[in-house]
Symmetry: D3
Subunit: 318 residues, 6 copies
């Protein structure tokens, strides 16, 4: 493309812009041909991280209006605020849900014939209707954080300051999206929380009530982890996979249960690494920096010192 | 609430908005009755995270105008900028301080009769007057970072880039707020720094001059930790509590000294976990990933290999 | 400075603003005299973190327009968008490059006579011309992430969500700036990525193609590390320095090779700490939480359990 | 104020900033001593034009949510939006009302003892409660515009596009503020409308229902004008004062009735100038560019040609 | 709607918010029943003034990139900028066009069956394709302004500063939209120009090349006006309708030709009012403040003094 | 330019974007060849309207900090605010001044050799140093407005609300820029005021102290007008040129004195049109809508009725 044909012919740009643009186009073309994206829709019809951040923020404001909502909120206008904010956020979510469903349908021809708009609307309606339950659930998390941290002075401090609370709020919404068939929106949401809090919970993880993560930086909870009620976790804890199953042709097997099951009332101290589809029995305590790849019985107290000697409970592995 | 009484009667919304709003109201009412919030003020009279972020940013600009202030600053207008920015930030801080004091007074009836406005003003004036000392202190931290990192090329690079510097600037201000009776503002400030840097220092921690945290992600320093001068800390170090004291009725005892004392000239390498009210003697070196729950004498060199054999100094525990 | 000479004489401000401003000025003057900054330019002529963030974001949009560019992009206007965005970003980068070169020249008189504008332009032109290659390189990273994570459902999910991908995009640009003689711009860029992802890669590190960091929080990769192709790394892995060399007068020796060399096809699991200029041989696997300060032969499988027994290969250390 | 005492002494700024600041301070001091502002409150406690613009915009959105409200409004969330927006705007208005009342009290010592907060709240409550009536009134104006302009294609076009409609919406609110004892807020509001539309209606003017201004640029309607129902006015029409009454000492007499009374069903064409406390009788038509300073009987048709011959009706002057 | 059922029962809000919201709902319901809006779509599916402002601004930037485009534009990236900006703006316009066509179809059932999306796309494509011609036309206007104003120092000053130029750029685009069947978008565009410049040109007006309005405040040009080439107009000139035709039932007849025809090379000085479907003959000059309702022959010089004596040319009236 | 060479070949865009971009390029090339712009600098090196708006706003804040400055201003930080804001604004003005001088030098080769940076700095320093005098001058205008309008309740209302005050503040700064050799910055500034207030004062006009424009919409004051002290003007007044002088070859003669001289204490009522280099004698009153093209003696009272009979004073014409 020659920008200024004649009069600027003698003037050379600082860098060969046209050439670079052309080479970048070639690079994209090659990528697309590699990855079979010849069926590109012609537009960037993908969910938006920016939009999801705004949606989740709005839902948080609607769930905890007096603590995390706008500064001018008062008892008189609280419900009006909640109603409008909620409805706006849900409509934006509906738009993002449509984008994900259409995106998936482009990749997977079997879904091409479905009524994606109706499906998106059904998903978002279901999501909307569980929000009150979700608020009750989150209240148990706030209570757990207050009870679990001697430095906490009030429930409000917990709600305003604790990254672990922010992470669980995001997670409980992301998990719901994940289960509804919107894994991309779910994952985008959980990565926003990861960036802000340093806590990385895969949206597939199932987490019971009264869950508390203190400090939190470096926590990783994998896709198929299952966590009971009243569980407490500290920074840098990993609930990860031990190894990845590979199929006959050497490809990773996706979707297998491969992360730990943590039963009720378990406490896991900072830096502990728990790998594989093992079971941490009810009421156990896992000490800091412990490396654990075997199931332990309920009520076990595992420390770095005794970690090798704790009897494994293979029958509990699932 | 029926929005459009007659003409839209046939039209059903996408989700039962009125019902959801009502259920959320019920959830909030239940929470408030649980937590005894019947004395709610009718408004969202809480300090604001957004406001505190803006205040601390402005104070940082006023403390380091030529490095962290606006791009158009010059020697001639530096003082004007400092004076205006400082005064604006202090007035905003005064407003937030009032909000915290009033909030506390609502929770604690003994404080209801106090002159909270006068108290807020006194606190902020005292805060303002120590800012020059705080700048001298922070200069020692910048010097320590430059001296401590072979990759640092200039003091300015340290100030512009190092997350550890940002964390200590935030902490020194948050600590002052904490000591002045504004623990909520303090905590909000330190959580902003945590989110940006991955370094989690409780505002209660006491830290001497010439302090340096390198890399920093995952560092946790607890509320009652005491750190001497010329201390250097690497990423993922925890200065935490060993266990939480529980009173007779099983509730956590809040406010007890429960985190380590680190004396002057100590270096703690990445991933070390130091728990409990123990003392790390002057000039000691704690190796990477060491797990330490006993006091060590001055000049001790603890590594993963010798960690079990280092003699404990229980008389130093406080 | 007396603000309101007569009529407001009786009115005392809330805090002694003039005094505080004066003391802050004195603190700055003392710092400048300490650090020999008498040759200050009179203005804040420093590169800007805010500007670098905007530049890198724009370059990312130009490199991956259909995935990370604006929502309204379509096949028809893609090249127009790329061309304009690229050129704008490069011109902004040119401005920042000039600021860094001038800043360096102020500190180092030997450079004072050079034609800094021409040098800045040459550097940015060279940077511009490698962008297509950089895109090919990044495509290998996206592919590696997709292949390496069983939870990944599509290449697009990888590009939209994975913090490790964001970190490597930032790093590959920062590394190029670092090699071009713009270490401050490079460092600013890598710290932006660190803040957003929790992954701290020094811009000096050399990294081969098809590199993947999963989860990533707490990863630290040092300035002189060298990483081969097809390497996979998990959260909280450190590739650090074992000790810092000190010269005769006790000052740190800067610029020495002091970080590990990781050969092709190596996997390093979460929390492993690898220190010193050692070599991890081709195809080795380093287990979680392993502490390693000695070279290992190609194909070695190091775990916490066998870490002490793995034979060291000192001849491989460089 | 000497900014950089020693080290920069040799460097002269581009302009003598300190001197200019000092001279501006002296200029302000002189103005304040002239105007008796020795009792300055020490702060800029004045209503804000920016705030009033936002308030009126919000009220307009609440009054006409489906036409002038946000793009995402739907029948289901309309009332929620109205309730929240209204309450927010009213609370902001309350704050501005307090500022005006306090400002007035500073100027007028007789008001110093009053309970200004209670008075502000009473005024804003009354304002809030007439908003539904105001909406009915504005609907008559929209209808009048649609009926009066052959170019109008729909009521919605009128509401979205016509500057005359915007001006009357602003006016009806500003007039209410004016009558409530908030003339400064009223005036600020009407000047915002003036700036946007070129239509200058003093908030004191009394205007009946079904009022229509077409095109509007240059229309001026004075403080004591009284306008009936179904009146139609074109661009550049002035309803002004003929002369200003001066008291014995030569000062203007403020507050006298000095602008025209326009009865029902009058049409005034572009550029007509009508001055003084005269009466334009019901159903009259005043032609373009007519200059009129005498009352005319009901049903009179005044044109430039016959303006001198139309019989005056002095008995109608008030 | 009772916001806080029990615990806040004793607390009365500052104003009866629920009542006011209810009354406003009733007012809207009454309006809708009056105006037959029972077929409301349930959403605010109307074109947006904000969006149109952004679209026109972008188109102006694309038409005059080096004068009215972004500050960082250079010869090398000019075409890239134009291409991307243009395409974005056209896509946004397409969205607004759809909204107008759907809105019209809701009001007019005959259009309900049409393929509105295809029609919108066709209209916008045609609009896009005349943009180069429109640029040539606007260049004639810039030249006319430069030639016509002795105070103009350069073409660039004209383009950067003259409100008359801004008004004609907006008009030429609005007129095209008007002719394409998008009168609402057209009107919104022309009212934006009116608000900014004080110049009110109905988008229906037909205007030849080399048109210049100087100063411009108060100029009004009606829907059916026809203006030739090389016409010059000053502030406060009206090209209006003399009277409105009324049909048998007393309703205004919409769409009739009722505004003047101004032939080539005519100059109309400030404040002149020209009304009705009359013809101002080629090369005539109309003096300031002249009131003219009769056609005049080519070459006529009309002044206030001779206005009554200039022979009318009724045969030229159309 | 072919965007997506092969894989999207079958997909036709909505409009032929490449063709339109090419035609627009051709249109620009033709314009540039017409207007001799072959010497284009390659970039858009022109002053910016946006920047000038920001600069003037900042200067206004610095001149009237307690009335038109930020809401948080207090006596204690007033001077700090003024100093910083002023210096920032002056530095931005310096940048714009450089752009205008370079632009002019490109058009006029005689200026090419000058030291434009030094000249820009000299101009802005002189501008800075007259700001205190300018503030005194503007105080006379505020006083004149208060004294001249019976509806004005306080000086503060005048400063906060009156468009005439805003127009004169802008004008006095623009006039200074105009006299300093920056006519383009001056004109941009005055057009911003024109857009906001509807008052169009050419920056060349000379205006004495205590000047008041009431209402103001439609006022036009030409480039060579000279206005004395204590002059009062109402809306839609024109001080214009009678005719334009043409040189032998038919081109307009630029720069000739061609607008009225208005002596001290003159009042000009709404809609009066005063044309040509005539003199309105001291203390005269010009009535509304008067059309005047001859000088009048001091103390003359001109009305529409007597306008023809007032004796002309040709000897006063200059």
């Amino acid at each position: 493309m020659s920008n200024e044909p004649t009069e600027l012919a003698g003037k050379k740009g600082k860098w060969p812009l046209d050439d670079i643009v052309g080479q970048l186009r070639a690079a994209r073309a090659e990528w697309r041909s590699h990855t079979g994206r010849l069926r590109e829709s012609g537009g960037r019809d993908l969910p938006s991280r920016h939009a999801m951040g705004h949606i989740i923020d709005s839902l948080i404001s609607a769930l905890f209006p007096m603590r995390l909502g706008p500064a001018d909120l008062r008892a008189e206008n609280e419900d009006f605020y909640v109603g409008y904010t909620l409805d706006s956020a849900l409509n934006m979510l509906l738009e993002q849900a449509r984008l994900e469903l259409k995106y998936t349908a482009r990749l997977d021809e079997r879904r091409a014939g479905q009524d994606l708009d109706a499906r998106a609307e059904r998903i978002v309606r279901d999501f909307a209707m569980i929000l009150p339950d979700l608020r009750y659930l989150l209240d148990t998390d706030v209570t757990a954080a207050y009870n679990g941290d001697p430095a906490a002075r009030s429930m409000d401090e917990v709600l305003l300051c604790y990254p672990g609370i922010l992470a669980i709020i995001y997670h409980r919404m992301a998990h719901r999206l994940y289960k509804s068939g919107l894994p991309l929106l779910a994952r985008i949401s959980s990565e926003i929380a990861h960036s802000v809090t340093g806590i990385d919970i895969h949206p597939g993880a199932q987490i019971g009530h009264s869950f508390f993560i203190d400090h939190g930086t470096g926590v990783v909870i994998g896709e198929t982890a299952i966590i009971g009620n009243y569980v407490r976790i500290y920074q840098a804890v990993t609930l990860g996979a031990k190894r990845f199953e590979v199929d006959e042709s050497g490809n990773l097997q996706k979707g297998q249960a491969r992360h730990p099951i943590v039963e009720d009332d378990v406490v896991i101290y900072a830096g502990a690494t728990i790998l594989g589809r093992i079971v941490i029995g009810k009421g156990s305590t896992i000490g800091g920096n412990v490396w654990l790849t075997r199931s332990v019985a309920p009520g076990t107290n595992v420390t770095q010192a005794n970690a090798q000697n704790v009897p494994a409970h293979p029958e509990r592995e699932r």
